[in-house]
């Protein structure tokens, strides 16, 4: 653990200015992830800029029927917001499926999206890990990887500097990915908007980078566009115990039915990749087709066809497939009821 300074700014721009001059500094949200990583020596910022009370902690209406979520909104408040629960059930369900009550009270929306992987080689400074110590290799690929990625990972062997098979652990991010949310970011050069599709990245040849954000960019809010048919949506998380565990796999799905035909559908998978995984192959296969178990199964299998499981996580392919099928069946049954 390294000694650090603790700073507070008076406004978001001030916070951005503070970090602009501190290449090793970090923003502090609820600290539920960052402080843990500091204790472990994994994160070693020399200055923390506290932003937990700096950006908005309100959920506001957008003109298109969507919602703007301030980056400082606690996970618990967001899950309890009546508009969120009514318009985007999958979002509220995703939040409630994550962590524990105490953690959700403390954790912020912005911090949740930027939490780091739970890979145990990443969190142990005595082990090789390309994400934590670029070039040191990947311990997980030959070690404990039961809960690692089956899609979009880079596996060039344990010693390659490119290898990383980690997953992104956030449940919230998976729901936001399905909803095509946009992240509002403040940087030195002003404000910009990053689509959820572009926020988290696959490891490629640079596993150290989780996201496309530049150092010092501050998340100020998340815009969730209006999507009336998201009222029929679900977040289904499969985990090793009944609560308080990260996803083995998860499914965020919303479906718009016209009789027994799928008019439109949104699917994102969690626990399968370095980023929330938008199941575009499955979506394309389903759109305009029948809402039947056969069609759902074919679409799920088509999506997972690209999977490259490791020896100990091959179960994720059938688990994700059957969970996706069941979730779509439940949404369609609900729609018909």
């Amino acid at each position: 653990m390294r000694e650090f300074r603790y700073e507070k700014a008076t406004d978001p721009a001030g916070a951005v200015a503070l970090l602009a001059d501190a290449p090793e500094g970090a923003y502090l949200g609820g600290g539920t992830n960052l402080v843990d990583l500091m204790r472990l020596g994994v994160a070693t910022p020399d200055v923390l800029v506290d932003v937990r009370r700096l950006t908005s902690d309100q959920v506001e209406e957008l003109p298109d029927g969507g919602l703007r979520i301030g980056a400082a909104v606690p996970n618990a408040d967001l899950a309890a917001d009546l508009r969120v629960r009514q318009r985007y059930p999958l979002l509220a369900q995703a939040l409630l499926a994550g962590a524990s009550g105490q953690l959700r009270n403390r954790a912020t929306t912005g911090g949740n999206l930027l939490q780091r992987t739970r890979c145990t080689y990443f969190t142990d400074t005595t082990q090789p890990c390309n994400k934590r110590a670029p070039g040191s290799g990947c311990g997980a690929v030959t070690g404990l990887h039961r809960n690692h990625a089956v899609l979009g990972a880079t596996d060039e062997g344990p010693d390659s500097p490119h290898t990383c098979v980690a997953t992104h652990p956030s449940d919230l991010a998976v729901a936001l990915r399905a909803l095509d949310a946009e992240v509002r970011v403040l940087g030195r050069d002003g404000e910009r908007t990053v689509a959820m599709a572009d926020l988290h990245r696959l490891p490629g040849e640079d596993p150290a980078r989780d996201t496309t954000l530049a150092h010092g960019e501050l998340i100020t809010a998340i815009d969730v566009p209006g999507l009336p048919w998201a009222v029929r949506s679900r977040y289904r998380k499969v985990r090793d115990r009944a609560s308080y565990a990260f996803a083995l796999i998860s499914v965020a799905a919303a479906m718009d039915l016209d009789g027994s035909t799928v008019r439109d559908v949104r699917i994102a998978l969690g626990g399968v990749a370095h980023a929330p995984w938008r199941a575009t192959v499955a979506e394309d296969a389903l759109r305009g087709g029948p809402a039947t178990e056969e069609a759902f199964t074919a679409a799920a299998e088509a999506e997972l066809a690209a999977a490259h499981p490791l020896p100990d996580n091959a179960f994720k392919v059938p688990m994700a497939t059957s969970t996706l099928v069941r979730t779509l069946l439940q949404i369609s049954a609900e729609a018909r009821a």
Binding site: M1, R2, E3, L40, G41, R118, T120, Y121, T123, D124, T125, T126, Q127, G139, T142, G143, L144, R146, P158, R236, V238, R239, D240, R241, A242, S243, Y244, A245, F246, L248, N313, A314, F315, K316, P318, M319, S322, T323, V325, R326
Partner: protein
């Protein structure tokens, strides 16, 4: 003695409860000792097998606030114990996580920062950490833990199996598991001249005395350990571990009061674990269910430096009758930290296997698994050939079946559905030895004042503060508020540690003996100027002449989601025969905790060894899963009327461990009944549904 209402058997609440919830009583790390304490942090080896080739501590020593860095090059030399506990005496590294240096600093933050600045170079070889039955270096230990014989053979087992009309031949595996008491292991140490003072989290200060005195070359009088409150242990605090010795060394070198608290991650390498087991079970039976042969062969691991031979198959020696029977234990010495006691060592993994195999046999026979057990009930201990002091397994099974609603169960597997859930039920039996260990107690009586009862007993969260006060109050014939109990200090009369479910049966009779002494000498009249009496208790003839065990029966309902493989246990029933119950509240808590830990063993707990790097890879509570509240459904607990006067004057049996024994098998058996699939390697996690 005046007659008062008896405290023993009542539901009196924990006397230490209010102070604990208000934070008024100190755990080891919280002892504030006046003089400014300094802090110890540990540098651990990432290498599992090799040697330290060089250490450069200069950068760490240069950090302001660092007082000392100890390594194998400059650490004080210790006595013989260093063979068994690797504590900076040599450059050789024998397990991943082994301490290779410690930093002592003015603050814990500085100490931990400096840990990262100690540069250590290693020469390393590939670690050998994989247990298998095919290894050619498996060996029989001299004896097992707690003095059990390594093997037992009666009759011609192979012939009996060959002749048996119905057999099962199955292999079960249980994983590495780690004790995770809520209080991390912690030691505060200081040298007052040549006396070593320690405030420590352990399961009985006297347990630590032999090793620590040997290590530092001091006499018993030169060691004083205080441990009044302990936040859980489960076996991991039973023995001396490396951190207590490191704390003693750091205090010696710096001349300061040092505090050392392990991190949760360090608990996965420094304070022991439960060995993995591979267990082959063979049962032979006649078509009516009568067992003709039982064979239980165990393979498990131990460490390079210290042998720990878990007594995995010993419960099989007494559970059921059968003319031909065999149990064996073989060990592999691996490059792992030393295993240790974890709640019901031996019985927990061993009975998982035996009771799962009994369920498989019942299925082969097309028989009710409760009935199969009843049919093989032995009227004497089948291997020792002595009578039971009490054996009430039958009552546990029948009463449990009644409470659970077992009657009319459709024994076919995989045929019950509730929506997408597959539903099943399972049963398993439980047993745990009843023993007592030598213990002494002292009572100081002064007319008009409360009695002071002193014994180096240990309350690791079990409720011993309360139950011993109850026992003393009854023995002295006074209300509980007339007793002042003192426990958890090596300067108190010697008593056994809190382990092997022996606390109540060992400490209670010692207190009763002291009270009897007082009564015999003075009647009800305490002399005005006060008096001190002592009493002792220990194993008597009953240990040879009788077979004494607690018994129990578990019933569980399991639901398995056929889309996701998730497993839920909505209800469990446990009925136990545990002798006289001293306190109905704390007894229920012990049984509930045991059953919950069994559920956790069935569904969640597994420490994963990285086969290439040799460390426990999931070494924190985010990745090493223990049952959460949401995993525990309705738990129905009862006990049968039983008093075991033949074993000890209290008529009690141990209660701390039997709850975990067999509960994992009941859940595994219910999983099979729900799904038609046997998972024979714990834990039953959702991924196993997809293989």
């Amino acid at each position: 003695m005046t007659t008062t209402e008896r405290a023993v058997g009542s539901d009196v609440r924990r006397i230490d409860g209010p102070d604990k919830v208000r934070g008024r009583v100190p755990y080891a790390y919280e002892h504030e000792l006046g003089a400014q304490s300094v802090f110890v942090a540990i540098v651990q080896s990432p290498v599992a097998r090799g040697r330290v080739t060089s250490i450069d501590a200069s950068a760490a020593e240069a950090v302001p606030g660092v007082l000392a860095v100890l390594t194998h090059e400059n650490a004080p030399r210790l006595g013989d114990v260093a063979e068994e506990i690797l504590v900076l005496q040599s450059p050789v590294v024998q397990y991943a996580g082994e301490p290779v240096a410690v930093v002592v600093a003015e603050t814990s933050e500085v100490a931990r920062d400096a840990v990262g600045r100690v540069r250590v170079d290693y020469e390393s070889a590939d670690p050998d950490v994989v247990l298998s039955v095919d290894r050619d270096d498996l060996y029989p230990p001299e004896q097992l833990m707690a003095g059990f014989e390594t093997d037992s053979v009666i009759g011609d087992v192979d012939a009996a199996l060959a002749e048996a009309p119905v057999t099962v031949d199955v292999v079960y595996e249980t994983p590495n598991q780690h004790n995770n008491p809520i209080e991390m292991h912690a030691t505060v140490a200081r040298w007052d001249g040549d006396v070593l003072r320690m405030w420590d989290a352990n399961q009985g200060p006297h347990n630590l005395v032999p090793v620590i005195t040997e290590a530092f070359g001091i006499t018993e009088d030169q060691l004083h350990i205080t441990s009044p409150y302990v936040g859980g242990a489960f076996g991991s605090k039973a023995y001396t571990h490396v951190h207590q010795l490191l704390a003693g060394m750091a205090a010696k070198v710096t001349g300061r009061t040092v505090k050392l608290e392990l991190t949760r991650q360090q608990m996965f390498s420094l304070v022991g674990h439960r060995t993995p087991t591979i267990q082959r079970l063979r049962l032979g039976a006649r078509p009516d269910g009568t067992l003709t042969a039982i064979s239980h062969e165990v393979v498990e691991h131990t460490s390079q430096n210290a042998e720990f031979a878990e007594q995995t198959a010993t419960a099989t020696r007494l559970m059921y009758s059968a003319p031909a029977r065999r149990t064996t234990h073989r060990l592999a010495k691996l490059d792992v930290p030393a295993p240790t006691i974890m709640r019901a060592p031996g019985e927990a993994p061993g009975m998982y296997a035996l009771e799962s195999a009994m369920d498989e046999l019942a299925a082969e026979l097309g028989m009710d698994p409760v009935e199969l057990r009843l049919r093989n009930e032995p009227d004497r201990d089948p291997e020792r050939d002595v009578p039971w002091s009490t054996r009430n397994l039958v009552a546990c099974l029948t009463q449990g079946a009644e409470r659970f609603g077992w009657a009319g169960r459709d024994h076919r597997p995989g045929v019950r559905e509730d929506g997408r859930w597959l539903v099943g039920t399972g049963v398993a039996a439980a047993t745990y030895p009843t023993r007592r260990r030598p213990s002494q107690a002292r009572i100081e009586a002064v007319a008009g004042k409360p009695y002071v009862v002193s014994i180096d007993a240990s309350d690791i969260g079990t409720g011993a503060w309360t139950t011993l006060t109850q026992i003393a109050a009854d023995a002295l014939g006074v209300p509980m508020d007339q007793v002042r109990l003192r426990i958890g200090d090596s300067r108190l009369p010697q008593a056994s540690g809190a382990g092997g479910s022996t606390g109540i049966t060992s400490w209670g009779p010692a207190i009763m003996a002291a009270a009897q002494e007082l009564h015999d000498r003075f009647g009800g009249q305490v002399p005005a100027d006060g008096v001190t009496v002592t009493g002792s208790s220990g194993p008597g003839d009953e240990a040879e002449q009788l077979s004494s065990h607690a018994f129990g029966a578990h019933f569980a309902e399991v639901r398995v989601d056929r889309d996701t493989g998730e497993v839920r246990v909505p209800r469990m029933t446990g009925v136990f025969a545990v002798g006289r119950v001293i306190n109905t509240v704390t007894a229920r808590s012990q049984l509930l905790g045991g059953m919950t830990m069994g559920l956790s063993m069935a569904l969640h707990e597994e420490s994963v060894l990285d086969e290439r790097r040799g460390h426990y890879a999931n070494h924190d509570l985010a990745e090493y899963h223990i049952a959460a509240n949401a995993d525990v459904g309705e738990v129905d607990i009862a006990w049968v009327d039983e008093v075991d006067d033949a074993h000890n004057p209290l008529g009690a049996k141990g209660i701390g461990e039997i709850g975990i024994v067999g509960s994992a098998a009941a859940i595994g058996n219910a999983y099979w009944h729900a799904t038609g699939r046997r998972v024979r390697d714990l834990p039953i996690t959702p991924d196993k549904w997809f293989r």
